[in-house]
Homo-oligomer: 352 residues x 4
């Protein structure tokens, strides 16, 4: 029997860090051997420091783990780290790990746009992982950084991938209604969002308009050619705990009937290389046919939060089709995506 791969979580006390611990609890491949936090918390026990905000109890194994610094010295024997760091911190810290031979699966945005850093959604573009060869060679690192996209991008690009593959995409409109957990904790003040919505999330629209182009882009040697699709995004914060809702309008390169669209969405499967990994969603996309679904409260936990839910598929007067996408932002859009990436990396490296 194979031993589990030792991993660490960087930035383990925040909202995303908490979700990482919960998601990794009982993971068949990974064993969490270290947790890191910012300076003031180093040396203290996890349960004494964390303001645990999830309804499910903290994993027992995490309670007494002593927080290490966010540096290679702080993660013990970990061979791979999951990064829940804020982008600014990630930019400084993550390369230190790769330079010391520790692989980084990052949820941070810091390196997503680097041409030698894979921006991976295992259901969509696992082949982009070869960018790590260039990354290691050019940067002289024994290991590498791989990233998962922004939480809003994730749900969007999974719904777009089958359409892109089958019909080609010309343009995409997307308006998001995003959950509060995406802003971390304490995040959005209650007085700012009770009986309110906020039509602005700093930096979000730029990410949503650009990241899908890299993910859907074609791999040419060790380079990704951005997909030739134009996106326009409007992002909003709404008083919902978890689950981003996206209103999407699409123009296809080759027109398709609604039935064809539904068929390719429902029939979509991850590539063979990532299809059977432990965190692979089953199904990748669930299509609802009720007139008023998906809804975050009712549908966010579909497929343990890893399935992307699509509904209200209907004709679009401007493009060809419009629909609603729901994605669990802190599971599929953050920690679940990062862990799924980690599994794919472990397989790619021959660890499993």
């Amino acid at each position: 029997m194979t031993e589990r791969i030792p991993v660490a979580v960087l930035g383990a006390t925040g909202m995303v860090g908490q979700r990482f611990l919960q998601f990794l609890d009982g993971h068949p491949w990974f064993e969490v051997v270290a947790l890191t936090a910012s300076e003031g918390r180093v040396g203290r026990r996890y349960r004494e420091v964390v303001d645990w905000r999830l309804p499910q109890p903290m994993p027992v194994w995490a309670e007494d783990m002593v927080l290490g610094p966010t540096s290679p010295a702080g993660v013990g024997e970990a061979r791979l780290v999951f990064s829940a760091l804020p982008s600014g911190v990630a930019r400084e810290a993550e390369p230190q790990f790769a330079a010391r031979g520790i692989w980084v699966c990052s949820n941070a945005s810091a390196y997503r746009r680097e041409p030698d850093v894979p921006l991976l959604v295992p259901e969509v573009n696992p082949d982009h992982i070869v960018l790590i060869e260039r990354q290691r060679r050019e940067r002289g690192w024994p290991a590498a950084i791989i990233t998962n996209p922004n939480c809003t991008t994730t749900g969007l690009v999974i719904a777009l991938a089958p359409l892109h593959r089958s019909f080609g995409l010309k343009w995409v409109f997307v308006a998001s209604l995003q959950a509060l957990s995406g802003a971390g904790y304490p995040g959005v003040p209650s007085l700012a969002i009770l009986d309110n919505v906020i039509p602005h999330i700093p930096g979000e629209e730029d990410k949503v308009e650009w990241e899908p182009r890299k993910i859907l882009g074609a791999l040419e040697g060790e380079e990704v050619r951005l997909a030739d699709v134009t996106l326009s995004a409007h992002t909003h914060r709404v008083p919902v705990w978890d689950g981003h809702t996206l209103a999407v309008s699409v123009a296809l390169a080759r027109p398709a009937s609604l039935d064809e669209v539904v068929a390719v969405l429902e029939g979509y499967e991850a590539p063979a290389s990532t299809r059977d990994l432990p965190s692979a969603p089953r199904p990748v996309i669930a299509v609802r046919t009720e007139p008023d679904r998906p809804q975050p409260r009712l549908d966010r936990d579909t497929g343990r939060g890893m399935t992307t839910v699509v509904g209200r598929v209907r004709p679009d007067p401007l493009g060809h089709v419009k629909f609603t996408v729901l994605s669990h932002n802190t599971i599929r859009g953050a920690v679940g995506g990062a862990v799924y990436n980690g599994e794919w990396l472990a397989r790619y490296l021959g660890w499993r």
Copy 2:
């Protein structure tokens, strides 16, 4: 000194009916002389029947008014009625009033699409009122029905009108985040919307994609030619009391800079005929420059709820410009719009 014009409110006990009473309280031209309700409530005092849901107290004059039936016999000396009826009821009831010489300003959707019924936004298309000449002639009625648009259409079309006039519109993408009050009372169950959004409002998208074309359409004799603009709408219900938020992307016929767009929005004025009516918004459009405004809780009461607030004006990667619109759905988008229409009608008829 002129006496006030006697008016009635049809369907006075619902959410929109309550807003009508509040909005008409102290109105300089109109005096509410009758209130109607559905059969089971006829003959009872308003305050005994109504489940008053507004924070402001019920107007004192309404408390002891005895509810009449929703028929010409139920409105006493009223020369004009404001209709807060559900669409199905409105279809049957409203013609009875017009046929008896009582003018109808309707918030219901029943007659909006009739070619001889004006669909009026006084800031935008007051000239369409001439359709009532055709309506009276063809239907043989001494009075007529005029309508105001759907609450979501209202905010949208006011923001679009200056762009249409100055640059021409090619297409519009709109995603709405709509307040609960738009669904009436009891309306949306709390269990359906707490920690949730609902990506569906029955019939709404059809209205939002069609009504602006009539309102922005050109009057040719006694006919309105629908404006040649294509709209695509996604509508959502969110946990907000009042105030519809709209994410709008626009392609113009003639490209314009952001500065030009802001200038025509800020400079927009209602036509001279309706500009100085009692309920005319001042300003018609307020443009906010903060990155995160407008927001329903903070901005819905701008201009006593009659001003349309626009913010986040920025370039759109697909069209030319995108922005956020906020409109008070039960004031500007319902009763305020209907009363403003009533004022314009009163002036057109020479009553004031």
Copy 3:
């Protein structure tokens, strides 16, 4: 291997009915063989009729069950029925089942106050089940009705029982902050509760002030002598999905230190007869020591929703001790309580 006991759910389409199906899914003793609904829905499939409002999916076995009438003819071979009926309907319907030899575990309030009907909380007063002997004899029924208390009573009385047993209770003051799910679906309109609380739940205070006296009462032959404790209740509805929060002040007959109080709460066990039933909570009471717990969102699912959570145990200036109680109102306070009662009944009857 023993076959499972065939049971039915009366009133299966409402909020409590849905929770029954979910709770009975995979139950080791009971197999749901029939579902009933009000007249207009009889003969239709469950999934076509129900407006399923729970985040977890509908049990697969329920989807195609055909709804029967709420009468003995509608429940097939069921030997026991769980009643989620409204009180008025329950009053008429439930005796029909008992009279035909079908046992009734009712969540309705209709028969709770009858002297020959057990009002059971298995952790507290399982001995009261002997009232069914009198009930059968006096009413001439082959089976009987047993009831569980109001959802607010349930959490309260479980927290009070150990204090009553160890120290005696003189009086209790309780103020509740009750979840929306307790009002059913559609229940509380969103416009009534967004940015609001409602300091009134019809009939609730009477139940909370009386029911604990019966449950904590002593069994004398086939009669329950009401416990000699006075309760004062204030009940409120708050914008929370599930989980009733109770602020409780208590005067004891024999003074006790806070440590003693905590010890009896934490050490409380159900009587031996009911301690190991399938739905028995483990632990019965969880005591939290953080200054701000329990909270509904974080603690309602403790012990699969069957554990009563107590926190903030502190001295009371008027009585002896005050504390906060949290109880999952639709699980422990409704369906979980009824099923736990059913298990106890099945054991009492020698079925298991």
Copy 4:
């Protein structure tokens, strides 16, 4: 014509500070001549620094006021300052003003318990103002500090005062459901309160159990003898913007009928000395007779937010009477109370 009295607001940028500006806008006696803030904001314009969170726009006169330091040097010609400082800051800063002859009306808790500092509710104990004579004499200050109570105490004590005066109070139970604005901005994180309540507000229960005893206490010379009444408080935070709801049970020294209780509540008037001050509530107490009122969203603005609303007056099984109190926490419970205190001080000092 008399000139207005120059005043300043200390801590003008927070939630309470914003409410002060709004409440003082157009005040007939006071003119705001200075605003102060913490060090990092000194020297900047109010509108550039404040994160204005109120739906009503910022007063125009405040927009360009330059923030001063929170010291006598920072308030120009102000003769009186309204303090919205946090308690710790208040403890250091407020005496500096009094020592320099500038009167302080403080909303902070720092000095409420000092025996020579009046804890004033003008409707209840304006006579306690004479404590300032002792304060000035013993501390050697030319001016003095006066305080208003905690926001929860305020609504409670106004409802208790008429009962205390007419019947005497023996004991009081109170459970609060408190609004978010009481915690300031950013205050309670949205993730902490959405679909939740928090049964803990640090320090609150101590204040609510003690402050009413001072306010209702009898003045003996220059000393207040604490009222001989015992209070037990449970405090909770709920997802409501403004308006604290209190469930109150009372035992009277001399039993009274419900009619008598209602009569003394409704008939309660402030003492003659404070009854006609500009901010005096009219009425002091409004008694609602509907079964489900008061509610924060519907009743908090009664009497411009200065009236205390009482409802659900009914017998209490333990004491004599129980009822619900609603009080606008940032108006009557904070800035309105402080300004009303300031008016009473101005009259007492002979300024008006």
